[in-house]
């Protein structure tokens, strides 16, 4: 019974976290609080507008109701254009992304210079958002679908190239070794031992990016690069809110159809 005496229930303290953990928690909470206070305090917002915002938003919503389907024909045509932009851009990207992934993968790159060139292309492509690419191409080629296709392509190269590069780096090296032992040249090794191994990854990545590109191409028109965004921008500029509502519904429908189609493709192809 000595032990029971030494450690009576009253002396036992239970804490969820130990001292160091608690200190880290406090530090994190303090840092977050400071960041938020600074952001709220410093940001260039006219606060009365904030309290008025729910009002304004519901007002806008009310003006949109009911959706106006009179321009449905033009909307559907623009939707098709959007899909074309996404699809063609995804297809064309393949021709650029595959060589780039080939030189950006450590096990296939011809030399160091190519490796760094490949990585630079991938990083540059991924760091600039589609709509910023679109801004640039609209400035160069003028408003229209070409700027849109190029913008989607330039962003997708980084995405597809990076993931394909990783797929190439993860291949089983043993068949490659066996092909080398037969006296096959490098090109034959690529088509025979590397390509079959990365095929499933390639289709998965392509389908994934097509899905993303459908979404991205809905906004290209806002900077003049073609697709449904052009009509959306026009409707907003003319305060045709019921038409805006119709366009929004159409975009949701498009995205959902795209999602259904990609999951179907994934099941069929992979």
């Amino acid at each position: 019974m000595v032990e029971e005496q030494a450690e009576r229930p009253a002396d036992r303290i239970w804490r969820r976290y130990d001292r160091r953990q608690r200190l880290i928690h406090y530090a994190v909470v303090l840092a977050v609080t400071m960041a938020v206070v600074w952001a709220v305090h410093d940001i260039d917002i006219f606060w009365p507008w904030v309290w008025d915002a729910p009002n304004q938003i519901s007002n806008l919503g009310a003006r949109m109701w009911p959706p106006d389907p009179t321009r449905l024909g033009a909307i559907v045509a623009a939707m098709l254009e959007t899909v074309h932009i996404a699809t063609l851009a995804t297809m064309l990207t393949v021709f650029i992304a595959l060589p780039v992934s080939y030189i950006a993968a450590q096990n296939t790159t011809p030399n160091r210079a190519c490796l760094w060139l490949g990585r630079f292309i991938l990083v540059a492509s991924r760091s600039v958002n589609t709509i910023i690419w679109a801004l640039l191409f609209v400035a160069i080629f003028g408003p229209g679908v070409l700027a849109g296709i190029l913008a989607i392509m330039f962003r997708s190269v980084g995405f597809i190239g990076k993931l394909m590069g990783e797929a190439i780096e993860e291949i089983d090296r043993r068949p490659v070794e066996a092909m080398e032992a037969t006296g096959a040249s490098k090109a034959k090794i690529i088509v025979y031992a590397v390509v079959p191994q990365v095929m499933p990854a390639f289709f998965a990545i392509l389908i994934l990016r097509w899905d993303i590109n459908i979404r991205e191409s809905t906004v290209l028109g806002l900077v003049g690069a073609g697709g449904i965004g052009v009509i959306l921008q026009g409707a907003i500029d003319t305060f045709a809110w019921p038409t805006v509502a119709t366009i929004l519904v159409a975009i949701i429908a498009l995205v959902l159809i795209g999602e259904a189609l990609t999951s179907l493709l994934r099941r069929k192809v992979l």
């Binding site: 296939t108 790159t109 490659v176 066996a178 032992a181 037969t182 006296g183 096959a184 025979y192």
Partner: protein, 269 residues
């Protein structure tokens, strides 16, 4: 005839993996190379077809020097050297026939390789060899649908498709169950005499080495310490090769990946 003389391989500044190795293999003899993990068996075989670059020494196949060959010449030399791997090294997603025909990659053009339009003679030979090892009915099956023993037979046929002048087998039975591994050893033995082909087999299983080969070479720490007929391979020789090396018999042989690790990490192929 394969003549290896003074073959040395060292990775970077480490101790040499192979030191001054001399070995001559003639005619259609089957040679077993035994030794503990890390004794240099795998490195030796890979030096022959230059998957591993020898540091110094000479390797001659039917009078042609292999060390120092580059580019197209090296590829032409490799065509004459068949290799069978421990992990089969098949391309899983391709059919058995495509894997078998891969043995002709050193001969056909890139266009033929891409479109799989191999010459009629190659296809004929592929069917004959596949029938010889009983896998012809799998021709259009995917390689990963086969069992281990069947996969290794695909590996053997692929190597024979090269019309090799020497066959290297790197632990061909280590990934197989005992029964299947006996079958593969028997197959290699009879192919050697049918095709009058010298065969070098790295093998861990000493009793199989004694049963299926006519010559045993023992390596320890990169040096040859036994070379003789199976009948002369006594328990003394066994001790000399494996003695003092812990659990040498049970330990699986080092996979090729482990040897590659020493080389330049980003080596392109």
């Amino acid at each position: 005839m394969l003549e290896i003389s003074q073959l040395t391989k060292r990775y970077g500044q480490d101790d040499p993996v192979l030191t001054g190795l001399d070995l001559t293999v003639e005619g259609n003899s089957v040679v077993a190379i035994v030794g503990a993990s890390g004794a240099g068996k795998s490195t030796m075989l890979r030096c022959i077809n230059r998957l591993v670059e020898p540091t110094s020494g000479s390797i001659k196949l039917n009078g042609h020097e292999l060390v120092g060959l580059k580019g197209a010449e090296l590829r032409r030399a490799r065509r004459r050297i068949g290799m069978v791997f421990q992990g089969f090294n098949l391309i899983d997603r391709l059919s058995v026939m495509e894997n078998v025909l891969a043995g002709r990659l050193g001969y056909v053009s890139l266009f033929q390789a891409v479109t799989r339009r191999y010459p009629q003679a190659d296809i004929e030979r592929a069917f004959q060899l596949m029938e010889r090892v009983d896998i012809a009915h799998y021709a259009n099956k995917r390689a990963d649908e086969l069992s281990g023993g069947e996969r290794q037979r695909v590996g053997v046929v692929r190597a024979l498709m090269q019309e090799p002048e020497v066959l290297l087998a790197d632990e061909p039975t280590a990934s197989l169950d005992p029964r299947t591994s006996e079958q593969i050893m028997m197959l290699l033995q009879s192919l050697a005499s049918e095709l009058s082909l010298p065969v070098l087999i790295n093998i861990h299983n000493v009793s199989q080495a004694k049963t299926y080969t006519e010559r045993i070479v023992g390596l320890r720490h990169g040096k040859m310490i036994f070379d003789g007929r199976p009948a002369d391979f006594t328990s003394d020789a066994l001790d000399a090769i494996y003695g003092g090396i812990e659990a040498a018999q049970d330990e699986p042989p080092a996979p090729p990946a482990a040897t590659r690790k020493h080389e330049a990490p980003h080596e392109p192929f």
